[in-house]
């Protein structure tokens, strides 16, 4: 089972890195959308400093969401997912492997890119550590919860739009605590509790989300 999980994990990583475009697309979206904000709310450093934490968090949320359809959809279309569903390995474990690969190829690069964008948006330096740590703890939950949404819409009409509708409400708690942490750090308040909550959400998602997503994947082949 561990071997099957590792095989799926490595396969998904190879697929993303060989194509390259998928990985670049999410990061490019992140960067381009972030550069719209100074044009939208005005370039004054004070205004940008206020909205920076929210902008970075919302955009990383959207970037993760935009990349969700590569989690199952292409494997569903070419039949690979059905083969995986027929193996003896529980679907939940394969989903966990796929979500991990998804996190390595979106959540992790986004976390690494986030401080650069935050500095471009003039986020006070006190908030940088809270931002990066928060994203590091929060993005796994985003990949895992996103896996539920991506699995539910398999075979549905207008699937990728529907994913957004289903997943974004479920992302709201992660967003709230992530942004609160940065704001607390900037204000000089303790931000450790927010980190613990984000970690708790991710930890709770690790067993629960693959289970729900696995059931959804199986229901697509009945």
């Amino acid at each position: 089972m561990i071997r099957a999980m590792r095989a799926v994990f490595m396969r998904d990583l190879r697929l993303v890195f060989r194509q390259g475009a998928d990985l670049a697309l999410a990061l490019a979206f992140f960067l381009i959308a972030a550069s719209l904000f100074p044009l939208g709310v005005g370039p004054s450093p004070e205004t940008l400093a206020i909205v920076a934490s929210g902008v970075v968090w919302v955009l990383s949320l959207l970037s993760v969401m935009l990349s969700l359809d590569r989690l199952f959809q292409s494997d569903y279309d070419d039949g690979a997912l059905e083969l995986m569903a027929m193996t003896a390995t529980p679907m939940a474990l394969l989903v966990l492997a796929k979500a991990s690969a998804h996190w390595v190829t979106t959540g992790l690069p986004l976390t690494l890119l986030a401080p650069v964008i935050a500095m471009m948006l003039n986020l006070p330096a006190d908030g940088l550590l809270a931002l990066v740590l928060g994203l590091l703890l929060g993005t796994p939950a985003m990949s895992l919860i996103g896996a539920i949404g991506a699995a539910l819409v398999l075979g549905a009409r207008r699937a990728s739009l529907l994913t957004a509708l289903l997943v974004l409400p479920l992302y709201i708690p992660v967003l709230i605590f992530g942004v609160s942490a940065v704001d607390a750090a900037v204000a000089g308040l303790p931000w450790r509790p927010y980190m613990l909550i984000l970690a708790a959400i991710s930890m709770a998602s690790i067993p629960l989300a693959p289970w729900a997503a696995g059931a959804a994947v199986r229901s697509a082949f009945q």
Binding site: G155, A156, R157, L168, P169, Q222
Partner: protein, 254 residues
């Protein structure tokens, strides 16, 4: 366990319950409006705006209760594959969406004179707004598949995933110190509302519950007929007047 799987039995029971629910709704509404608008005092702090409570709180209770009904029905879809469970969940969702909307709108009308603003992004308002989005997501997903019956499992899984929001709504006002007032009705040391105000509140909650049972019964009969039509159409049968879709809300799969 599958007693209700027999549609004859379901129709007999629903035909017996619907008149009772309709009568209960009518009586409780008249009483609730009388006590709520005429026979109860204005609040010493909030004045007459407290009367918004007799709509707002029952609507909030319905929004959460109907979601719990959908979640329970969804669990029964996944565990027992009960044919009426999916129909129950599908029939309840639009009613829940409507009450969630009513809760948010009346809360907004209450917030303006009390807090001086139509909307604040506090924990309870936000979590009810999430509930509103969950209802929309559930209804969209339940209608997003061409093949009849294919939506039942994904929609049920989504409903169960969304259940995490319910305790957040209940406890949000206790966990976060916000503008929204803390729990006044359901708490360990008993309600903190004056009895003259509790009477109309409970009457309106009863009225809304009867209304839900009534509309749920009607919608279940409707959904049951629609499900039969969808099944028939996916096998290529059309009605004599050749109506292929529209009222059923779905295109035939074939």
């Amino acid at each position: 366990m599958h007693r209700f799987a027999n549609p004859t039995r379901f129709f007999r029971i629903s035909n017996a319950i619907l008149p009772v629910a309709a009568a209960g709704f009518a009586v409780l509404t008249v009483l609730g409006l009388y006590y709520g608008l005429i026979a109860s005092p204005a609040d010493y702090q909030q004045g007459d705006t407290v009367r918004i409570m007799y709509i707002h709180v029952p609507a909030a209770y319905m929004a959460v209760m109907i979601y719990a009904v959908i979640a329970g029905a969804s669990a029964s879809v996944l565990i027992w594959k009960h044919p009426l469970a999916e129909i129950t969940a599908r029939a309840a969702a639009p009613v829940g969406l409507a009450f969630t909307f009513l809760c948010l709108a009346t809360g907004s009308l209450w917030g303006k004179p009390m807090w001086g603003t139509w909307w604040v992004w506090d924990a309870r308002l936000t979590s009810v707004l999430i509930l509103f989005f969950l209802y929309i997501g559930y209804m969209t997903l339940a209608n997003a598949f061409d093949e009849p019956g294919r939506a039942s499992k994904p929609a049920a899984i989504l409903a169960l995933v969304g259940v995490v929001n319910l305790p957040i709504i209940k406890f949000s006002v206790d966990w976060w110190n916000t503008l929204h007032q803390p729990a006044a009705l359901i708490r360990l040391d008993g309600p903190t509302i004056a009895p003259e105000m509790l009477t109309p509140l409970f009457l309106m909650m009863g009225s809304f519950t009867c209304f839900f049972i009534l509309v749920l019964g009607l919608r279940m009969r409707s959904e049951y007929a629609a499900a039969r039509l969808r099944n028939a159409m996916s096998r290529g049968v059309t009605t004599p007047d050749g109506v292929p879709n529209g009222p059923v809300g779905r295109e035939p799969a074939a």
